[in-house]
C-alpha cells in the first residue's frame, strides 16, 4: 500500500458517496452541496494524475463558478415560487437498470484493457507545456472558445432578462 493508493481509495470513496448524494438527496440545495464535494474530489483526482493546473481550474471554475450559479438559480426560483424546492424522483427502477447496463458495458471494455505500464515522464514542466500548446498548435480552438463564452454570456443574459 503506497501513499498514492491510500489517497486514491479515500478520494474514490468521497467522490462516489458525494455523487450518490447528488442524485439521491430529496433536497435540491443539499444536492448542490454534494455536487461541490464531488467536484473538489475530482480536483484531487486531477492532482493525483499530476495535473496541478487542472486542479486549480477545476476548483475555480467548477467548484467556485458552477456551484455559485446553481445556488443562485435555486434561490431565484425559490423566491419566485415562494416554497422551497423539494424534489422527488421517478422511474427509480428503470433508471437504475439502464445506468447499471451502461456501467456493465463500460466495465466490459475495461476488463479487456491491457495492463498499463508505469507512467511515462513528461518532457518538461507540465503547466508550461500546457500553456505553450494552448497558444501554439491549439490557438484556433482556444480563440473560438473565447467567442463561445461571449455568445453564452449574451445568450444567458437574453434568456434570463426580465420583460419589463
Amino acid at each position: 500500500m503506497t501513499g498514492e493508493t491510500v489517497v486514491f481509495a479515500a478520494v474514490a470513496v468521497v467522490l462516489l458517496a458525494a455523487s450518490l448524494g447528488v442524485v439521491l438527496t430529496p433536497n435540491l440545495f443539499h444536492a448542490v452541496l454534494c455536487l461541490a464535494l464531488a467536484l473538489v474530489a475530482t480536483a484531487v483526482v486531477f492532482l493525483l494524475l499530476d495535473a496541478p493546473f487542472l486542479f486549480g481550474v477545476q476548483l475555480l471554475l467548477y467548484a467556485g463558478g458552477v456551484v455559485t450559479i446553481v445556488v443562485f438559480a435555486i434561490m431565484l426560483t425559490e423566491r419566485l415560487v415562494g416554497a422551497s424546492i423539494r424534489q422527488t424522483s421517478r422511474y427509480l427502477i428503470n433508471g437504475a437498470l439502464l445506468s447499471a447496463a451502461v456501467l456493465v458495458g463500460v466495465i466490459g471494455f475495461l476488463v479487456q484493457l491491457p495492463a498499463s505500464g508505469p507512467r511515462p515522464v513528461w518532457s518538461g514542466e507540465i503547466t508550461a507545456l500546457l500553456g505553450r500548446a494552448l497558444v501554439g498548435p491549439y490557438v484556433m480552438p482556444f480563440e473560438l472558445l473565447a467567442v463561445l463564452l461571449v455568445i453564452a454570456l449574451l445568450g444567458a443574459l437574453y434568456l434570463a432578462r426580465s420583460d419589463t
Partner: protein, 99 residues
C-alpha cells in the same frame, strides 16, 4: 494506481450521473446529473493523457470545463425563463411540444 482504476472510478461516476438524469424530476436536478457525467469524462481524459504522456487530453479537459460552464449558464437561464412562464421546473409538466 493503474489506468484501469481511474477509468473504473470514472465509469461509476458516469453511471451515477446517468441515473440522476433519468430519475430527477426537477430540471435543475437533471442539470446536476449532467455535470456529474461531464466530470467523469474529464477524469477519463486526464487519465489517458497522463498514462500516454499526450498533452491533447489535458487541452481537451480545459475545453470541456469551459464549455460546461457556458452550458450551465445557458441551461439555468433557460430554466429561469421557463419558470417565469410556466411557474414550474418539473420536467414532467413541461410537455408543451407533446403531440
Amino acid at each position: 494506481m493503474p489506468l484501469g482504476a481511474y477509468l473504473t472510478l470514472a465509469a461509476l461516476v458516469f453511471a451515477i450521473g446517468l441515473f440522476g438524469v433519468l430519475t430527477r424530476r426537477n430540471a435543475v436536478g437533471i442539470l446536476l446529473g449532467i455535470e456529474l457525467m461531464l466530470n467523469a469524462v474529464n477524469i477519463n481524459l486526464v487519465a489517458f493523457a497522463r498514462f500516454r504522456a499526450d498533452l491533447a487530453g489535458l487541452i481537451f479537459t480545459l475545453f470541456t470545463i469551459a464549455i460546461t460552464v457556458a452550458e450551465v449558464a445557458v441551461g439555468l437561464a433557460i430554466v429561469i425563463a421557463i419558470f417565469r412562464v410556466r411557474r414550474t421546473v418539473e420536467a414532467d409538466h413541461l410537455d408543451l411540444l407533446r403531440g
